[in-house]
Symmetry: C2
């Protein structure tokens, strides 16, 4: 397979769940966030919003609520960078818009040697009374749903290729 | 902004709606499709399926049905490559899974100098009796929804940067 750097990044990206203590620099974080904003959106409505939780207290409250939901397991895998992608519920395609933002960020991170993972539980966390309180304290209005969460950090190791791609992923109608 | 090739591709990707007659080679098409299969999916369930409409008759039936829906305008912008991304309705996150597949394909295309665009009307086309017949003739079962469609071709021109990114795309909670 002849590859350029972009396709190389796409095919080597993994979901990382173990991170070192090395922090992600502000410069790299900004590159990743900017990459998110370049995602396409339905009718260019840009329904998504990227919420970067830099407040340590709020971040740890979120983590604690997540651990409560997952029997003591940290659903954010100890990551220090937790970035929520929300989108306007009433937009044409909020889930699609937000997902493309997330995928852009994952790829930008990978290209910088930074590990990322899609975490899916924040909308669930925000369902409880404490979760809803946290949501509001993060300035997230009820018009927004959380499409997904991007955690970031420097990988402890390169994860195994997860599972064989299913045979029927691509089908040609001839 | 210091950029690597991947971030460059992410930030220069556009949605293309005017194509030349030059066909996309099988080699490039396969690179783009493979890139799609490297997308993450919820719990690695790989709920998405990539359906490449290489049958000219079926492709033109799809286009004609689209034109009927859009007052004579071709919603696929004359593109010869029409690739549907479907996903299992009952999977955990079908829309998210399919959207990441699409975004990978758009970026791989861009990196190869091939223009792409997300087209959103196929699920609507498949609602009519003729549309449903076509859906089945494409081998798409009722368990699948169409998340989105990727059209491909060589761009006639590089589109203008569409509209200023909204100011509130990124928000830091400090």
């Amino acid at each position: 397979m002849s590859m350029n750097e972009t396709i190389q990044t796409i095919s080597t990206r993994r979901s990382y769940r173990e991170f070192t203590d090395k922090p992600v620099s502000t410069e790299n974080l900004n590159l990743i966030l900017q990459a998110g904003t370049f995602a396409p959106s339905a009718m260019n409505r840009q329904s998504a919003e990227i919420i970067v939780i830099k407040n340590e207290t709020k971040r740890e409250v979120l983590r604690a609520l997540g651990m409560k939901l997952f029997d003591g397991r940290d659903p954010f895998y100890g990551a220090k960078e937790i970035i929520l992608v929300a989108a306007l519920k009433d937009s044409k395609c909020p889930i699609q818009d937000g997902s493309c933002v997330l995928q852009n960020m994952f790829l930008a991170a990978e290209s910088l040697g930074i590990g990322s993972c899609w975490i899916n539980c924040v909308e669930d966390i925000f369902q409880s009374p404490e979760g809803l309180e946290l949501k509001h304290s993060l300035g997230i209005s009820d018009e927004l749903i959380i499409v997904g969460t991007c955690i970031l950090g420097y990988p402890k190791k390169y994860p195994e290729y997860p599972k064989k791609r299913k045979a029927q992923y691509i089908r040609f109608v001839k």
